[in-house]
């Protein structure tokens, strides 16, 4: 299981774009939390699936101009 953390502007359009890509990934979205912080949304996902597919998702998400930051890693306590 991997963690993907994203920052987007606080806009449901941006969030909608993130979800539109995620639903096409060949991974299972085990959990997703959207937290609001100042003018931003922080999206935390737990995804389960083959390494290459997780990478596919991260790379595709990172193509969105609204994804201001993205990082991927092990599930940790900061989630």
């Amino acid at each position: 299981m991997r963690r993907i953390s994203i920052s987007t502007p606080k806009s449901l359009d941006a969030l909608g774009r993130v979800i539109a890509i995620t639903r096409r990934a060949k991974v299972q979205l085990v959990d997703m939390v959207v937290a609001s912080e100042d003018s931003m949304y922080r999206v935390h996902m737990k995804v389960e699936g083959p390494h290459d597919e997780v990478q596919w998702l991260v790379a595709k998400l990172d193509k969105l101009p609204e994804v201001l930051r993205i990082d991927e890693g092990d599930i940790d306590i900061n989630y």
């Binding site: 502007p9 359009d13 909608g16 774009r17 539109a20 890509i21 096409r24 003018s39 290459d52 990478q55 596919w56 790379a59 595709k60 990172d62 193509k63 101009p65 609204e66 994804v67 201001l68 930051r69």
Partner: protein
Amino acid sequence: MLFNVGGSFGAHTRDSKRVVDKLAETFKTYGVKHVLGIPGGSIMSLYDALYGQDIDVVLFRHEQGAIHAAEGYARVAGRPVVVAATSGPGAANLVTGLADAYMDSTPLVAITGQVATNIFGRDGFQETDIPGIVTPITKFVYQVRRPAEATAAFKAAYEISVLGRPGPTLIDLPRDIQLNAAPDYEERIQINKEKFIPPPPDPEKLRLAAKHLVEANRPVILVGGGVIWSGATPEVLELSKTLYAPIVSTLPGKAAVPHDFPLYMGPAGMHGRAEADAALANADVILAVGTRFSDRTWGRFKELQDAVRSGRVKLIHVDIDQSEIGKNVKPTVGIVGDAKEALRKLIDFLDVVPKANQKYLGWLQEIRKRYEEAMAKIADSTPSFHPWKALKALRRAAPRDTITVTGVGSHQMWTEIAWDVYEPGTYITSAGLGTMGFCVPAALGAKLAARDKPVLCIDGDGSFQMTMNNLALVRDYDLPIVVAIFDNRALQLVKQWQIYLYQRRIIATEFSQRPDFLKIAEAYDIDAVKPETYEQLESAVARALRNNEPLIVDLTINSEIDIVLPWVKPGDWLTSAVLPEGMDVKLVYEEN
């Protein structure tokens, strides 16, 4: 507030600038010379702001026409043009073109009108959630919610469309916002544009790539559409000459390489050339540049994946878009960067000069010769026009710098195989989405971008009928294009599949004799011919292109003989391409 939100359509008052006036000014500062589209209630104010401005408004007959024209324009001019459509049906009519531009990485900026913000979600007249609809098929989409965002959103959309890997963008502009008084400040749009600026290519990876390439026995360079956007044709040719590596292309990449370059084998794939399929399938080192590993080019990936995994084949993939590296096939070396920059540096790393594998190159040339001989024989024994031979006649008629655009279907596949491109960027086709109806409007857009160049649209009768309404623009805006309709009265490519994959159960692929294309031409005040010989075809087209006159050619083709080969059937590997009769060659190379 000057205008009644949601209610008034607000005629222009001269004493203050509206958001749309500011937008029109911004268009000019961004060098936008044309706005293509059709107006309507929700976008009238933007059109109103263009009144009397130094920007040409080009009125299409269908929004799909406007957006394909924007694609043709961008591929010729190398920069985007603006398409403006009204909300609801106008916006929805852009969808196919946006998807097409997204698949073929074409920059353009669409601006759609939207109902006023105070009636959002109330299903008002012509309300459609266009940002929701186009989310997966645009590089960037933004719905403007505050007047101060409008110009910033346009600037972002324009810049993002061209930065890095190009693509279409869309701005949705509610009617009340358009009519608002323009604020004297601009609100920042929170986005990360910098990510689209390609990183410098990794020198260590380039060094490794160079090592694999000089050690190769049967190298090949696979060129995709990215090479055109990057302007990397000189580097590709230099690499090919230095490494004695044959060049193979994808369908969009076909426009990147002059076809009289001796080591260019042509496009590979479903309807590629046999020598190109062979060069890809038998390579031991593949340098793939600016390509997304489409199933149309490879048939299937299994053989390649296995060969790369086992180390039998070294795959080097250079692409500006990180997400393409390893998406379909995991490369031996993946290099993110601009093609021109990466290849230039790669050339510097080639320290050893390899020897030409003459025997192998000779084998590939022999396949080419055998194909040409087999096709000449078939075409010569065909009583009516044969598409393969008709393309040779058209090529003789068209000056070297002719911009050629195609529809989608068998005629397009014939051009993939048999149309020679001489100057980079002069072949424009809908490759990724395969959109029938692309040709006429994209050719009009190409002509708009380069009025001094001859433009030839090679279309199918089915594709032509989807967007022929836009022919009105030929006279309206003096856009003299030549349209050659390969008129087989069929949706031939689908019919070919029915013949070979569905036991000849022909359904819904044969047309009646309606309409008469000569009468269609007449209705649009365009000359037309129905040639009876190749000579008539050649001379009519040569004359029209030379004199910059529009012409419609109704080229009668017997559907029964119109079978495009080679053909790698869907899901097959390249070496199992079905070859034309009389071409008895194997596409698997044997060393001895």
